[in-house]
């Protein structure tokens, strides 16, 4: 399959990151890999957009960070979802669904 280097709008990237972390704490590289996998290779998040987004999410208090040992015993910075982050995820998810549905509807209508 082709690899889209799709430029995600920041809001959408936030949503994807929060969704990924809902499955459990991850470090930055793993988040980008996971999004790549879960989108069947369509979405490739470059580190240039990933890390600024992670820092912004951290500032908003939706995710928190801590340093830990990675799989190969290297030091890595892990991110996990906070309670308010979980609430934000639900809110953004339903907003996105609503938006996507509406857009699809418009495109279908003759």
């Amino acid at each position: 399959m082709t690899e889209h280097k799709v430029d995600l709008p920041q809001g959408t990237l936030n949503l994807l990151i929060l969704r990924t972390l809902a499955l459990g704490p991850e470090h930055g590289w793993a988040i980008s890999e996971r999004i790549h996998q879960m989108s069947s290779g369509v979405l490739l998040v470059q580190q240039g957009s990933l890390y600024p987004a992670l820092h912004r999410l951290e500032r908003r208090g939706w995710i928190r960070a801590r340093w830990g040992a990675s799989e190969n015993n290297r030091r890595a910075k892990y991110y996990e979802l906070t309670k308010s982050g979980r609430r934000q995820l639900e809110a953004e998810k339903s907003d996105w669904m609503e938006l996507a549905g509406a857009v699809a509807q418009v495109l279908e209508t003759v």
Binding site: H27, G28, W29, S32, E33, Q46, Q47, G48, Y51, P52, A53, H55, R56, E58, R59, R60, G61, R64, W67, S70, R74, R75, A76, K77
Partner: protein, 881 residues
């Protein structure tokens, strides 16, 4: 939100750690990506190269992360500030000059603001002071022309207190002075006679002991006193066992019941001892004699307007119930702070405005200096812009320097203001209400910080803005040191000169008007000759001089001996000196005229004088005669009246021989034996003089009189001889308030003199700064035109002609500034109108003089640089490429 703050703080204070963490994180990502590619079959080097390409612009990523962290702005500030400090360090001359100039400007502003803050802005030092009001009597306009407020009588006070629903509590008091004995030194002390309720109205209790009990308001239960903190410290050594201590005031014994805390002030009078009212029933019933002041605390939720309407209603009721005493009398409710400081508000605000102008001029001067510097750095700025620095970043850089300089000036100014605070307080303490509360506090610090920042931004803004408009190409092309066809800089300089001149002109007009006003006041004829007269006050203790003839005998003895002294031309006594701020009034009934109720009768000033007073003060005797020794207690009761009173009541006839009665002393008919000239007793700037009656001391003796002596030698030289004479008659009798009449007249003009001195100083400072500004602008402009000048001279132009041309070119912005300044001064002059006397705020003489002065100053400031330019040999000038 807390997370946000935490992250920002970490980013700010642990920059290195945070930066390293970011590096580690990105490095980790890099390594994992490389591993992924290696596992899919690539070689390590190939993988590293691929990932390196993908990663590209690491710094960009880092930058975005930093931005995401949200401390960019502050980091930029800090970086600019550091850079600014380095640049200033290289340019110490500029920094020193700018800091000094701004320091003086900001310091003056801080000093004036600390006064305005303490006097006008800060709430009074009592809890809940915004609820405190003063209640005045309003006298009927007919009997008291021109008087809007008057003191209160006891009976009316009690009725007010009983009938109102708007005040939570009320208090009544007045001031007095008394002889204190029973302590180490006998002396005269300042008293306040207060109702027991005063302490609850002001919500302040004594620090030691207790306040007066309610029964202290009655005679017989009033033998307690409360001391001020200062008095307790200085006269009793701060003795902690002072409660119960005995002392004697005017011969009466009192016990100390309490001591007030160090911060307590009695409105604006420095009181040393508080005594209770001690009123008899008769005192309480007095309705027609008004000698007291009343304050009250509004009930919660009651507005001043409501209180005013209720007091109006109560006054009408009282006027109807007691027409004799109260017909036509109203009441006025004024918030207490406004009552105390309202008079000085216009003057202080004018000073605040004036000193702000001086600061603006200082800003313009600094802006000028900055302009010269920034133009030299155009190349640097051009390079920065080419490398991507935004306009705001360049602006920020320049501003950081001026803000740093301004903050330095602010620190200097704060120091100067702090050092001068005690001098300010001492010089103003007697004249300015609340002067003792002046100090540099948190608000003053905040103000200083605020205007320092504002000054820095203002001073740097114009030059910085110009700089950002630099054409990159042009700037990079030109060599250093070459004079550039830079008309923009010229315009900015002209703007600075115009504004400096305009601001200076407004200040000069203000100062000029005050000077003329003071001069006009000095020319006013007060009705007496105040030169060569010495005065001193004598207060006889009533216990020692209980009988009236003892009192008059004392003064007569003293006067006989004083008149015999060499150097004394004439001597007399009076109970209240003109311009002394005190003096009583009484209603009168004129013989042969229809009988009127007390409250309808005309009210006149009454003064007690001895023979010789009129002569000593050189008051002209218009008709009839002065008092003499034949006017004794047992002969016909005689009086003198003032000229205006004669004109008012006996318009076209000689009033000598007419009789009238002073209504507070009913049944005693007094015959007019003379008419004397009017005396401006209330103040040199008073528009009307009140009708005045003079009663002979021998026919109505009193214990407290002021001795007045005209001397042929300097007045102060006779103080000791006169004091010695008084002690011959009574060795224990102290004298007080020794002053020359000249000094008293001067003191009465203190406010105007003070305001004038300050405004004149500010104006002088402004002119100096403006002259410096014009000088430097001229020097710069002339340097640019050196080639042109030399060519002209080489072609035969005379030095004088060239000089004239340069100067007239330089004067163009000055003239524009004068024009704008005149317009501004005409508009703002109206604010001064209430402060000046005898001259209009549009006075043409002042305006013309000031304008000419500025033209002369500007010309002088321009001559030196212009002259030097004409001296440069043409060969050198042309070589300067």
């Amino acid at each position: 939100m807390i997370a946000d703050l935490w992250i920002r703080l970490r980013a700010l204070f642990q920059r290195k750690t945070v930066e390293n963490e970011l590096d580690d994180e990105l490095q980790f990502h890099f390594e994992r990506q490389v591993e992924k590619l290696v596992r899919s079959g690539m070689t390590r080097e190939e993988a590293r190269r691929r990932v390196g390409l993908e990663f590209g612009g690491m710094d960009q990523v880092k930058e975005e992360c930093r931005e995401a962290r949200g401390v960019r702005l502050l980091e930029t500030f800090i970086r600019d500030a550091r850079y600014g400090l380095r640049m200033l360090g290289k340019n110490r001359g500029f920094a020193a000059a700018a800091i000094l100039v701004l320091g003086l400007g900001i310091g003056a502003n801080t000093a004036i603001f600390s006064v305005v803050n303490a006097v006008l802005l800060r709430p009074l030092p009592y809890p809940g002071s915004s609820r405190l009001v003063r209640v005045w009597h309003v006298p009927p306009a007919k009997s008291f022309p021109g008087m809007k407020i008057f003191s209160v009588s006891p009976a009316n006070y009690y009725d007010w207190a009983a009938q109102n629903h708007v005040f939570e509590s009320m208090a009544i008091y007045n001031y007095a002075r008394a002889d204190l004995t029973g302590l180490a030194q006998p002396e005269m002390v300042q008293l306040a006679r207060v109702s027991a309720s005063l302490f609850s109205v002001l919500r302040t209790q004594p620090m030691l002991g207790h306040a007066f009990l309610p029964e202290a308001d009655q005679a017989g239960h009033d033998n307690q006193v409360i001391l001020s903190h200062g008095f307790w410290q200085s006269r009793l050594g701060g003795d902690p066992n002072v409660i119960g201590h005995q002392l004697t005031l005017n011969g009466k014994n009192y016990t100390v019941a309490g001591v007030m805390g160090p911060e307590f002030r009695m409105m604006s009078t420095p009181v040393q001892i508080w005594i209770p009212l001690g009123w008899t029933d008769k005192d309480r019933a007095t309705r027609g004699v008004h000698n007291y002041m009343v304050i009250a605390r509004l009930k919660p939720g009651v507005r001043v307007e409501q209180a005013q309407s209720e007091m109006n209603a109560i006054s009408s009721r009282l006027a109807a119930a007691y027409p004799e005493d109260d017909a036509g009398w109203g009441a006025l409710v004024v918030p207490l702070r406004e009552d105390i400081v309202g008079d000085v508000q216009p003057a202080l605000l004018v000073l605040l405005g004036a000193v702000a102008f001086v600061l603006l001029i200082a800003c313009a001067n600094v802006a000028n200096l900055v302009l010269a510097k920034t133009l030299a750095r155009r190349k640097e700025v051009a390079i920065r812009s080419a490398l991507g620095a935004g306009r705001w970043q360049v602006l920020g850089q320049v501003l950081s320097e001026t803000v740093l300089v301004a903050l330095g000036g602010g620190a200097l100014g704060l120091l100067l203001a702090q050092l001068s605070t005690s001098a300010i307080v001492t010089s103003l303490a007697k004249e300015l209400p609340r002067a003792t509360e002046i100090r540099v506090d948190g608000w003053v610090l905040a103000f200083t910080l605020g205007i320092s920042l504002l000054t820095g931004i203002l001073a740097g803004f114009l030059p910085a803005w110009r700089l950002t408009k630099t054409n990159v190409n042009e700037a990079l092309k030109q060599g250093l040191g070459k004079t550039d066809a830079d008309s923009g800089g010229n315009r900015t300089r002209s703007v600075l000169v115009v504004s400096e001149v305009a601001l200076s002109l407004v200040l000069l007009v203000g100062a000029g008007l005050m000077i003329r006003s003071l001069w006009a006041l000095r020319q006013v004829n007060p009705g007496f000759d105040f030169r060569g007269v010495v005065t001193m006050g004598i207060a006889l203790p009533q216990t020692k001089y209980a009988k009236r003839d003892q009192q008059s005998e004392f003064f007569n003895k003293v006067l006989r001996r004083v008149r015999a002294l060499p150097g004394v031309v004439a001597a007399g006594t009076i109970d209240a000196l003109p311009l002394g701020g005190s003096g009583s009034t009484q209603p009168i009934a004129i013989e042969g005229r229809p009988v009127q109720a007390l409250s309808e009768q005309p009210e006149v000033a009454v003064r007690l004088i001895s023979p010789g007073y009129v002569e000593a003060m050189r008051i002209p005797v218009v008709w009839g005669r002065d008092f003499n020794d034949a006017d004794a207690a047992d002969t016909e009761q005689v009086i003198l009246i003032s000229e205006s009173m004669a004109r008012e009541f006996w318009p076209r006839e000689n009033p000598v021989g007419r009789r009238l009665i002073l209504s507070f002393v009913p049944g005693v008919e007094r015959t007019i034996v003379g008419v004397v000239g009017d005396v401006k007793a209330a103040g040199l700037d008073a528009r009307q003089t009140q009708a005045t009656i003079y009663v002979p001391m021998n026919q109505d003796p009193w214990v407290w009189l002021t001795l007045v002596a005209r001397t042929s030698t300097p007045p102060s030289s006779l103080v000791s001889p006169i004091t010695a004479v008084i002690h011959e008659v009574d060795p224990d009798q102290p004298v007080m308030d020794v002053k020359t009449m000249d000094g008293i007249v001067s003191d009465s003009l203190f406010d105007q003199r003070f305001e004038m001195l300050l405004l004149a100083s500010f104006a002088a400072l402004a002119v100096l700064l403006a002259a410096a500004g014009i000088y430097s602008v001229m020097a710069y402009a002339v340097r640019r035109r050196v080639r042109e000048i030399s060519i002209r001279m080489a072609l035969g132009a005379q030095a004088n002609d060239v000089l004239g041309m340069i100067i007239s070119d330089g004067l163009k912005p000055v003239l524009v500034g004068i024009g704008i300044g005149i317009a501004g001064a005409l508009a703002l002059g109206r604010l001064l109108q209430s402060l000046i006397y005898g001259v209009r705020s549009t006075d043409p003489v002042t305006f013309v003089t000031v304008s000419l002065l500025l033209v002369v100053v500007a010309t002088l400031a321009s001559i030196a640089p212009a002259f030097r330019a004409t001296r440069v040999p043409p060969v050198e000038a042309l070589r300067e490429e």
